[in-house]
């Protein structure tokens, strides 16, 4: 940080949507931080999107409402946007741009870090391993979250993804190690009531102490949403790689982020891609998602759980589609289960944690974890087929085994999937429930698990 400030330019050529075009500028750099000053002395932050021919296009984070060409000036700070970081950020609540909103002073910074992050050297990356317990059975048991993984939740409008996000933030922990754990929670474009819920939920559970909250509300300027995940990830990287913590970053709702990106792209008159999103949506999303991981010789890890609402529950929509290409699996919430009152309404047949196998098993969770999970997948999928069949031929037309599978389907949804909002299940409890469900079937139906595990855990009912 230098004591020398930047030059203030008062020749504004144009104000277009969230963009301000400044004329007659010299020595300005791409991504440079800009302070826009209004006629009444108000200050807003922005960054340089493009420079050339003596002009600079500035994206104003707090919006351009109320700005006029005359009287507005732009001060180029000579540096990129930085986030002050230290251990003191834990337990704090910030707005979408990283400014405290909890009534406490700015944290005393140990470092100022560029919010765009350092690109991770692929050679230095370590494969994600080890288990993060969320206390949510369906995730821990069948879609296990692994340290350093990026595992998104695909939800739909009005579904219980925010309740699930808050539950994960409260309960998540690394088990079997004394390593420190932290949660960075970034709410992007959420309603005030939701933001209050997240805050209260962490405060009341005592989990705020190990959390950092970034709240960008629905009525905050949409452009701020571009910054929120980046400041959150900057803090997460500091906690992970400088302080050696295992950090879980929850980003909700990435759809609002993509909408903000579309707004800027439209204002820049860029050629639109699918559904009006910019052609670089994939690249842009990857600059966020790829900030998850583990580094060789570094103790900590950054695990990401981005949450996005699929417009019209359409999984082929560009946002979930492109997200799915970058991330390592997905947890899909099902509208049918949600309507039946199942919480969390995870549709396991559409969900997958690609690197689950590296975080579970003997020494991590339990030796039978993978096999009992596969058996549950198999049984539930068969139960769905039997349900469909029963819809045609009626229950009377089903065999005895088919009827058992129907019981398994119901038991799976009512006992295993359904869980209290405050219910924190250990991995032992989760695996116990999985065995209880498959024990509704005769032993000879259990084809995915070894006999030794059947002898040990099968409970005849």
């Amino acid at each position: 940080m230098s004591s020398q400030g930047g030059v203030q330019y008062s020749k504004i050529a144009e104000i277009k949507g969230p963009l301000v075009i400044v004329d007659g500028v010299e020595s300005v750099a791409f991504d440079e931080l800009v302070e826009i000053q209004t006629t009444d002395g108000q200050r807003r932050l922005g960054k340089v999107l493009e420079v050339g021919n003596g002009k600079a296009i500035v994206q104003v984070f707090e919006g351009t409402t109320g700005l006029s060409i005359s009287g507005t000036s732009a001060k180029f700070a000579g540096k990129v946007m930085e986030m002050p970081v230290s251990e003191q950020v834990l337990g704090r609540v910030f707005d979408g741009l990283g400014r405290p909103i909890d009534g406490l002073p700015d944290p005393i910074a140990e470092k100022f870090i560029d919010i765009n992050g350092e690109p991770m050297n692929p050679e230095q990356r370590e494969y994600p391993r080890d288990f993060i317990q969320t206390g949510v059975s369906v995730i821990d048991g069948m879609l296990t979250l692994v340290r350093g993984q990026k595992l998104p939740i695909f939800s739909g409008s009005g579904m219980s993804h925010n309740i699930l996000a808050a539950q994960i933030a409260r309960q998540a922990a690394v088990v079997g190690t004394s390593d420190e754990f932290a949660v960075v929670f970034a709410a992007i474009g959420v309603q005030f009531s939701e933001a209050e819920y997240f805050k209260r939920s962490l405060e009341e559970s005592g989990a705020l102490k190990r959390s950092v909250l970034f709240l960008n509300l629905a009525d905050d300027p949409a452009i701020e949403r571009i910054i929120t995940p980046r400041v959150a990830l900057t803090v997460a990287e500091y906690l992970a790689y400088d302080l050696g913590m295992h950090v879980l970053v929850i980003l909700t709702d990435m759809t609002n982020y993509a909408e903000a990106l579309r707004e800027i792209s439209a204002a820049r008159e860029e050629v639109p891609g699918r559904k009006g999103y910019p052609g670089y949506l994939y690249t842009d999303l990857s600059t966020i998602y790829e900030r998850a991981g583990r580094l060789r010789d570094k103790k900590g890890s950054v695990t990401q759980m981005p949450i996005l609402t699929m417009p019209s529950d359409d999984i082929t929509h560009p946002i979930p589609d492109l997200t799915g290409y970058i991330t390592e699996g997905q947890i899909v919430l099902g509208r049918d289960l949600f309507r039946q009152g199942v919480y969390p309404p995870v549709n396991i047949l559409m969900s997958l944690s690609r690197i689950m196998k590296d975080g579970i098993g003997e020494g991590r969770t339990r030796a039978d974890h993978q096999e009992i999970s596969n058996q549950n997948y198999d049984a539930y999928s068969r139960a769905q087929e039997v349900r469909a069949l029963a819809g045609i031929v009626g229950k009377a037309g089903l065999t005895g085994v088919d009827l058992k599978y129907l019981e398994v389907g119901d038991g799976f949804e009512k006992e295993f999937l359904t869980q209290g909002v405050d219910e924190n299940r250990t991995i032992e409890e989760t695996l116990g429930l999985q065995w209880k469900i498959v024990s509704l079937l005769p032993k000879n139906e259990l084809t995915k698990v070894k006999d030794k595990f059947i002898d040990q855990y099968y409970k005849e009912q």
Binding site: M1, G5, V7, Q88, G91, A109, G206
Partner: protein
Amino acid sequence: MGVDSALEQTVEKILQNTEQQIVSSLKEALKSSQSMLANSQTSLEQEYDKILAEGKKEAEKLEKQIVGNADLDSRNKQLLLVEESIEKVFEKAIKKLQDTDRNNEYSKLISTLLQESIDAIGTSDITVQTNSKDKSVVQSSLSKFPGATLSSDLIECLGGIKVQSKDGTMKFDNTIDARLDRLKPLIRKDIASKFGR
């Protein structure tokens, strides 16, 4: 007599059968109640363990909640106290800066600030603004910068200068206030470290 004996035998047989039946059902009832007792003992124990485990879980949750909130509260109070002290240090520093002698050293500082401003704006055709206290120092320093003129408008600041290009499109704030503002996060850290933070 023969009839009586036969009757007696029949009654005896019925009594024996009934006794056997009663004894057998008693045995069965005993066995079943013992098995029920044994079963309920297990389920009772399971229920008992479950209640204990849930209670333990709840207690751990409450402990975490109470300890977490207490830690956070005390940390926040410390933060506010440190901030209060930092503000006091700043106030004193500002007072000291206000009372600084406008001596030869200060004149050198103004020259440095002028050079920095000209470099930043990219032209020496500038108008300089300062406060009433620094006016004469700035005026004398301007002789080294042809093209630079001192504005008659005074500004409110601790010291230093504000510079703008002659056409008014570029401004550069090089007052002590602005520099202090920019360095405040670093200075805060230094002050806090003196308080052991």
